[in-house]
């Protein structure tokens, strides 16, 4: 009995996290998951497999139609649109990833600290969260780029701060529910540090909700960063970026060459739709399990 349970447990332990992450989120959730994996894969290996140099300017080939050399044609500077889309997927994904990573870490710490200490610490954190909520993220980002110069770093940091309250508020409310469960007082009476209880017990038990909401924030951050690049505050030329390509492709639309703007927009929409669907499914799942 003892031996069998040990033998069967060893392999299932490795399988469990992967399987459980995409189980219980429905067909749309699973499709979204694989779409995101595909986009991430392209972003990872894309630059090594692109058919043409994404930054090679050749004005003779400006607005060259789709062909066997340029699958989606070229832009106003004669650069291969297909290659630029592939390379652009990196900034499109890494930017939001950085925003979500920072916002999640910061928000989780704030939420847990607020719950553990309670009292005036909690009140202060809630006030600060409310205050940041009052500013639209994109406005903060524009202000930051005005202060520290246009480009991805300033915009990313500004958006991280703007997204922190979303995570902090969700972590706080979930952790508060957890904090009041009897097992926490049992740990307290064993003389555990509040830090250890928060990190080792409360955090793992609210992590599902954190992941789900971080996913939702990823979609929003992607749109915000694309919008910033579109208006010229985000990714700076000549670096390829979807948002910047939509912006750059605007003049093409007027000249009857809408392919660049459309292709970049479609990719943004597909990616954001997939991320948001997955996020919504994950939220649903963690709420039904809680």
């Amino acid at each position: 009995m003892t031996t069998t349970s040990i033998v069967t447990q060893a392999p299932s332990k490795k399988m469990r996290p992967r399987l459980s992450f995409i189980s219980g989120i429905g067909l749309t959730g699973q499709i979204s998951f694989w779409v995101i994996i595909a986009v991430a894969l392209i972003a990872a290996v894309g630059p090594y497999i692109v058919p043409a140099d994404p930054n090679a300017v050749d004005l003779e080939y400006a607005y060259y139609p789709p062909s066997q050399w340029f699958w989606l044609g070229t832009d106003a500077s004669g650069r291969d649109i297909f290659s630029r889309l592939i390379v652009g997927s990196r900034t499109a994904l890494l930017g939001p990833l950085a925003v979500v990573a920072m916002a999640t870490v910061l928000g989780t710490v704030l939420g847990l600290v607020a719950v553990w200490f309670g009292g005036w610490v909690d009140a202060l954190i809630v006030r600060v969260i409310d205050a940041i909520f009052a500013f639209p993220g994109i406005l903060v980002a524009i202000l930051a780029t005005a202060l520290f110069g246009a480009g991805l770093p300033a915009a990313t940091i500004a958006l991280s701060i703007a997204y922190t309250p979303y995570i902090a508020r969700i972590v706080r409310s979930a952790a508060l529910r957890e904090r009041n469960l009897p097992y926490i007082s049992a740990l307290q009476v064993q003389g555990r540090h509040g830090f250890a209880i928060s990190a080792r017990h409360i955090l793992p038990n609210v992590s599902g909700l954190i992941v789900a909401n971080a996913t939702l924030c990823f979609g929003l951050a992607l749109i915000d960063l694309a919008a910033l690049s579109f208006i010229g505050f985000g990714v700076q030329p000549p670096t390829a970026d979807w948002g910047a390509m939509v912006g750059g492709g605007m003049s093409g639309i007027l000249q009857g060459e809408p392919l660049e703007a459309i292709a970049a927009s479609v990719l943004i929409v597909i990616t954001v739709a997939a991320v948001n669907t997955l996020g919504a499914r994950l939220v649903q799942r963690s709420e039904s399990r809680a």
Partner: protein, 350 residues
């Protein structure tokens, strides 16, 4: 018993004039009124009373787990420490090494997503500063000591895979792991079925004696209190109404309330069409009347009981009782006729 405690004359734990008020909405409600008792090292003291009498709040005050906004007065002394004034690291040390708590509902008091092994070893590793291997070995020994034979397998399981009785044994193992000097047992067997109850109680008692720990044992089961405790403290409406040796509580109660509790137990040898009960309903401290808190339910109550608040007075060398008629009624409380309760309690309105 082993002498892990300092040899002083002072008791290990002394609760002096402990009063607790809880915030309920806007008002403060009294739940404990000047409760005093003490526990010597290695001794077992029973805390007996109905729901709402303040048993759990007493234990929560000692373990410093009172809800936020609770106001306390009085003093809780633990081997020279002033428990109610402990802060930060000192409070953590006191909880980590001096006291341990066993809860009524073991299932609610374990993190459902952590394994039994983690539950047992985490404290040892974090507080005891020992390695994982050593901690796991200690955990296995502890589980075997509380009568869990397939300890290695149990360590890998989650709380939901264990029965209530097994989980309570794990709780006991975790409570004694740090070799505390005082165990606070808050109705440890109430949620278990009767046969498991006896086993768990025997294990708890054995561990206590082996390690020489003192125990504050909360129960509403007078028989159990009589069996495992040295001393008993009877609480009613947040006040101590009687205090005496556990073995005498049964046949010589000093307070009509205790007598009523003794008589409310169904007799196995006698068929009762209607189970005896204490008339009226349990009173909490904040709604207690001006005079004796038990007077409205007491058949022996007189005018003076309702008018003046009785003091806790020593009855010979026996114990203490908070009843103005304690001396005159001494020895007659359990006799029919003068009993505070008869089997056909008609107004047993609950």
């Amino acid at each position: 018993m082993t002498a892990t405690h300092r040899s002083t004359d002072a008791p290990l734990l002394s609760v002096e004039d402990l009063s607790v008020e809880l915030r309920v909405g806007e008002e403060m409600r009294t739940v404990l009124k000047q409760v005093s008792f003490s526990i010597e090292a290695g001794q077992t003291v029973g805390l007996v009373g109905e729901s709402g009498s303040g048993k759990s709040m007493t234990v929560r005050a000692i373990s410093r787990l009172l809800p936020e906004g609770a106001q306390t007065s009085g003093r809780i002394g633990f081997d020279g420490l002033d428990v109610l004034d402990l802060r930060g690291e000192a409070l953590r040390k006191y909880r980590a090494s001096d006291v341990a708590m066993i809860f009524q509902d073991a299932r609610a008091h374990t993190n459902p997503v952590r394994r039994i092994g983690d539950f047992l070893t985490e404290s040892m590793i974090l507080n005891g500063k020992i390695g994982r291997k050593k901690a796991e070995q200690t955990a296995t020994e502890l589980l075997e000591a509380v009568g869990i034979h397939d300890a290695a397998r149990r360590l890998k399981q989650h709380p939901h895979e264990l029965s209530g009785g097994l989980l309570q044994r794990v709780m006991i193992a975790s409570a004694v792991a740090a070799r505390p000097r005082l165990i606070l047992a808050d109705e440890p067997t109430t949620a278990l079925d009767v046969t498991t109850q006896a086993e768990v109680m025997a294990i708890l008692k054995r561990m206590q004696q082996e390690y020489g720990m003192a125990m504050l044992f909360i129960t509403h089961d007078l028989e159990l209190a009589g069996a495992v405790c040295d001393d008993t403290v009877v609480l009613y409406a947040g006040e101590v109404v009687e205090q005496q040796q556990a073995k005498r509580l049964h046949h010589d109660p000093l307070h009509p309330y205790t007598a009523a509790l003794v008589q409310a137990r169904p007799d196995i040898n006698q068929r009762a069409d209607r189970l005896p009960s204490v008339p009226g309903h349990p009173t909490t401290a904040y709604e207690a009347p001006a005079g004796c808190a038990f007077a409205p339910r007491c058949r022996l109550a007189q005018e003076r009981c309702r008018e003046t608040k009785p003091e806790l007075v020593a009855i010979g060398d026996h114990g203490e009782s908070r009843c103005v008629r304690a001396v005159e009624l001494r020895g007659t409380l359990l006799m029919s006729g003068t009993t505070p309760l008869t089997a056909d309690t008609e107004e047993a309105a609950l």
